[in-house]
Symmetry: C2
Subunit: 289 residues, 2 copies
């Protein structure tokens, strides 16, 4: 078809998908084309703005490497990630809610035993975290994989450092015991800024938004026969709970991290500074068949 | 705001722009957020599909370098580029229509004099191209910059070759003479495939679309006091005129490239093989004040 104008080009671009054998791909591309075109028409995107968009996306791509995922960060800050989480994680009543995955997970984390210190010496206030992983009917889930990661006390994830030879810390993989219990020592999470030294920082600043996330610990919990859970546990005393830069806060995931004065720590050791404790249980729905 | 769900997150993401001082940026981001979210809701994008999208955009970004612009190609194949051209180039009657810029222009092209051979030895049928650049009232525009680029007879642009040390050919910058005339020798354009060795080729294949563009010569024409024109001249005998992979064909830009049998060429030289001639005039609107 020739002489396409701003009114006819959308239908023609969609008609070109008529030979697509993959029905789901066709459905996604049809909707994407319609919304992308509607956006450009609605704002009457200029050619200079289009070129800025091309250059912006290119810069986002160039910022991505094996340790940095700027497109996830872009999706997070646009609210798209949390929207997709919400669309796909309508948990049954009583089950732990999900939230955003974020860009800082890595499969390379080490295995730890319950009770281990996973902090790897990361700066921060010491914290003892424990709880149970259960099914909705209360059955403890033994041998569930509990994947944990967090920023250090300076608000920076291990994978963000460029001067530590790729050392991993304040993350690890544990397994629940026969009673479904997990326990580890780490550090108290602190609020932090998402990385603002790249294109995402640029748009956040231009939008007049702050880049902060309330303090949280990431969990990904998996057990055969149960739905995978990707979530956080937040701190109840954080000032950014109502304005998380990535829209991820759910009130059911906010918990008190209890401060204990120096003395005997939960693991029996002597602590000469205060420690924090968190007790948090996770409830997983059974996988649909 | 906490506990955002798929119905409330869009308004909250837009509300976060309330501190944005740049009204146009705010307008664009508001519309972009609304359409991006509507797309994800409409197709009920799964988390695996979202991650495929993240990985796809990352791959597109990684394919971009100083010679390859995969995001422009993606925009072109989605019909977005031509939509933006249509939105911004409603030319007055009698003026030459615009079409897509494409990803193969470079500012590094050499200057040529009228009558020069700009082909640089590129393989292809010899062609003599000439015409006049005029204002809508017929006034010839002297000293207009005529920037020309094209694929070679094998359907490949100079900047796509990786084994030619960055040599440029079949492109150049000319200036119209006092009568508004331009003339150069080059080669007959042939239909070609957009680059399919990257992520854009992947989606085109999966969509069941062909990757071909009808033969064309690119022009970008600029003169003080006139609107810049970015356009093509197509060949009337091309089989892809109705299915251009980037939706760029306008019937007013289709022209006969006249084949002349061996003998005396338009520049007076002896030709021992056939040559093609194209005579094409460009009409530019005056710049709005």
């Amino acid at each position: 078809m020739q002489n396409l104008d701003e009114h006819t080009i959308t239908d023609e671009a969609i008609r070109r998908l008529e030979g697509c054998k993959d029905a789901r791909f066709k459905e996604i591309l049809t909707s994407l084309t319609r919304h992308l075109h509607a956006f450009a028409r609605e704002v009457k995107l200029t050619e200079a703005e289009w070129m800025q968009g091309i250059e912006y996306l290119t810069a986002v791509g160039h910022k991505c490497d094996d340790k940095r995922q700027e497109f996830i960060l872009l999706s997070d800050t646009l609210g798209l990630s949390m929207l997709v989480v919400a669309l796909n994680n309508r948990k049954p009543a009583g089950c732990t809610e999900a939230t955003v995955f974020g860009p800082f997970h890595t499969d390379k984390a080490s295995d730890f035993k319950n009770g281990d210190d996973i902090s790897g010496g990361a700066p921060g206030e010491p914290a003892f975290i424990s709880g149970t992983v259960r099914a909705a009917d209360g059955t403890p889930i033994a041998n569930a994989v509990v994947d944990v990661w967090q920023a250090d006390g300076d608000g920076i994830y291990d994978v963000q450092y460029t001067d530590k030879n790729g050392a991993l810390f304040a993350r690890g993989r544990l397994h629940t015991d026969a009673q479904g219990k997990y326990a580890f020592k780490s550090i108290l999470p602190e609020f932090y800024s998402i990385p603002t030294d790249g294109p995402v920082g640029e748009w956040i600043r231009r939008a007049g938004r702050h880049p902060f996330r309330p303090a949280h610990l990431h969990f990904m919990i998996q057990a055969p026969g149960y739905e995978k859970l990707v979530t956080h546990v937040f701190r109840s005393d954080d000032k950014y709970l109502d304005s998380d830069a990535v829209f991820g806060v759910r009130s059911s995931l906010i918990s008190d991290w209890v401060r204990k004065e120096p003395g005997t720590a939960p693991d029996g050791s002597r602590m000469d500074k205060p420690v924090y404790t968190l007790d948090f249980d996770f409830v997983l729905p059974r996988e649909a068949h």
